[in-house]
Symmetry: C2
Subunit: 457 residues, 2 copies
């Protein structure tokens, strides 16, 4: 396998040092030993440390504690947390409870970020009781198949990270670490993966074990080698998939270190933002409200859904959006709408029933013939049309009105907005809390376009 | 047959007096005799006078001169016009040549408006050489089938006229006299026609002789009883068809004389027009240019086509229209566009190829990565999108630019506009020459809505 010089450099940079690896694995072994000494559960390291695919400087160590599947969920929680607490104390850690599908303990020991996660020791990945039970199988599968691809996986991960497409969280909608590993193994290395990705089409199916037992509609389908009914790439959006394809094409054409360096442009200043916005001539509106007290994976999809519903409301009301986006901040969330018009004529056309639907047509005519209208009802393409005043001629009035609660907002967004929300217009939307988000919005470009502009390529 | 009192009143008003009928028919007989005396052609009265379905005060008399089909087209024209000239002179008429498909003579004799039309005496309507040859067959058919329906036809025609749906010209796109006659005969009278029309659906097919030999896509299909391959209602638009249906429903529910009185509202003043326009809040634009020297049936479809093309151009350019309309005046033509916005942001989104079309995608990226753009190229729904400046941010600039010549204008419209055109904006669009048209545009209502509002019904 020949590597570009830039890849060797990247590996030198991201490959953990032998000392680092020894240190972190030793910590893992000590924790495993401590868990198993309790007699309550088996234990294993999972995640990238276990698979030797972690990147230098990563301080994350995941220890799974595998309990007897005969335990009830409640017993698992009680016993699992008790054991995790005891271990954390034993190691003199600062720790706290966290919640994913189940509660677990997040501890800081010797500056390592350690998760102690209780799960069931099921016999196969198809018998899992919750998503965490699957993780040990993933680790075992990768360990068994990674061969000499550890460096390739590191390159693939770093490539995806630098391109901004790494992470299967709802905000990113990109490639998980496990997905990078499976793809690298499947295609047989980093370069073969890039060559394949350069030619990806929507609906690509990869079934490394040839055991798919379900159909998926996702843009990329990677059947989990340990679970024939699961798509490893379910969280990947079409956009992130093709950004990866785009990066692959760009890198194959002209490999360079720039593809491995995440250098997000520094956020704009409010002044520059305001100037860029004025040049566009569009009408920007932001809605902000207090961030609901839930994880991003709960809140972000609700922000997306709410923004989409409001976009449709705006569109129905005569204000088509050119782009929308959302961001979940620590204190506040923001929904951003860039509209092609901030005001619309008072007159709107209301399309009625076809004349051939006699009863409805007669009702429509009777209603509007005695209403205050600008024109109509008249007949157009076989339907009644009437021209009536609209309730809102300014988008800002609509966004400040209770009409927002008539559309499908996410549950927690709805509750938070019920406590109040703020609408800002134009350059006023600038907000230091969201400086990066707003800068990215107004300068939006694909990862490759950004690299090409930065490197003058 | 029982008639509503209002129908009797209408008939009293529109039925020609015996004196009028005798007088006009006597003139017809004298002209026929004069034609046949020449030995050059047979002659017959056609049109509503011949069929006894003319309306009081109509001063139109059509005399067709039927020549030997063995004549060439040129011979027919030469001989036909020569004979028509001679007859016109013999009757001391003021006359002039006119052109439809062929030249004919229009003469004024004793204040009657008389057309002397040369045509071929073909053996059947399916052997015609031009559209005028068909007319004698229509007259013979109606005469043979009208029975006692002459009054019903008068009512149907007057009903259609008053409703603004009478006339198969391109501006009206309504019901021809012949179509009214066929429909009245087919359904068996005025009331049965209304009851049927009230239930019409788009695509209604009527084949009185059960001999259809062709499929039609028109909203209403009435197979010509003298020609199985012709739709008598080909010129009827969906809108006029359903305006008739609407009037029929309204009349059957509440018969009144208002349905037989054409009382177009008086045109607005410029001031009122301006006030109504301001209330709508829309952005009105007119284009005017010299009327091409052709008949309305040539020019009007070209105006429609041109306006539709310009509407699409406006829409593509960010200016969606709420309504458009056209009018052909004696001196000038007007195209009217009511837009929802007069200005748009400089930024427009340009949707590029899907990333999966690799070659096109790479070209697109290469082109825009080094162009002056607001944002992008970025990936959205699997396609590239780039945000670029648009050439026109004001609709008026677009309408005043030569870009108009890049869209499909009618040939004669194109030629006339090449000589110059005027664009006006908002209340400036008011123009005394088009006062009725502009008033109708801004107060547009269906015929029934108008009647209901006028009568308070």
């Amino acid at each position: 396998m020949t590597r570009c010089p830039c890849e060797e450099e990247v590996l030198e940079r991201v490959r953990p040092t032998p000392e680092e690896r020894t240190y972190i694995r030793a910590m893992g072994e000590r924790l495993i030993e401590a868990v198993e000494r309790s007699g309550m559960a088996k234990a294993m390291m999972v995640g990238s440390v276990a698979r030797d695919t972690f990147v230098r400087g990563d301080r994350d160590l995941d220890i799974f504690m595998l309990f007897d599947p005969a335990l009830s969920r409640e017993e698992l929680q009680v016993q699992g947390l008790a054991l995790a607490h005891r271990i954390a104390e034993e190691f003199g850690a600062t720790w706290r409870e966290k919640y994913a599908e189940h509660p677990y303990v997040n501890a800081t020991i010797d500056s390592l970020d350690i998760d102690l996660v209780p799960c069931y020791a099921v016999a196969s990945a198809t018998e899992i009781k919750s998503a965490v039970d699957r993780t040990p199988f993933h680790t075992r599968y990768i360990l068994a198949h990674i061969d000499d691809y550890a460096d390739d996986v590191l390159l693939a991960k770093q490539f995806a990270k630098a391109g901004g497409v790494y992470g299967s969280d709802h905000m990113t909608e990109g490639f998980s670490g496990y997905l990078c590993e499976i793809l690298t193994i499947y295609y047989g290395g980093f370069h073969p993966l890039l060559r394949a990705a350069a030619c990806w089409r929507a609906g690509e199916v990869i079934d490394i074990e040839g055991h798919a037992a379900k159909e998926f509609e996702d843009p990329l389908v990677v059947i989990d080698p340990v679970d024939p009914e699961r798509n490893v790439a379910a969280a990947l959006s079409l956009s992130r998939m093709f950004e990866f394809a785009e990066l692959a094409r760009g890198y194959l054409a002209e490999p360079s270190a720039a593809f491995f360096c995440r250098s997000p442009p520094p956020p704009l200043t409010g002044e520059v933002f305001s100037r860029l916005l004025a040049a566009r001539g569009t009408h920007l509106f932001s809605i902000t409200f207090a961030t609901p007290d839930y994880t991003p994976d709960t809140v972000v999809p609700q922000l997306r859904k709410s923004a989409e519903s409001i976009r449709e409301l705006l569109e129905r009301s005569g204000f088509p959006a050119s782009r929308i986006d959302v961001c979940m901040g620590a204190e506040r969330c923001i929904l951003l709408f860039e509209l092609m018009a901030g005001t619309v004529p008072l007159m709107r056309r209301h399309i009625g029933p076809p004349l051939s639907a006699r009863e409805n047509a007669e009702k429509f005519l009777a209603k509007y013939v005695s209403a205050e209208v600008f024109a109509g009802p008249y007949v157009e393409d076989g339907r009644y049309v009437v021209e009536v005043p609209r309730p809102f001629t300014r988008a800002v009035d609509l966004l400040r009105s209770k009409t927002l609660f008539e559309v499908a907002l996410g549950k927690h967004v709805y509750r938070s907005m019920k406590q109040g929300w703020t609408v800002k217009v134009g350059a006023e939307c600038w907000d230091e809390e969201f400086a990066s988000f707003l800068s990215f919005f107004i300068e939006r470009s694909s990862p490759l376009a950004r690299i090409k502009r930065t490197t003058g390529g």
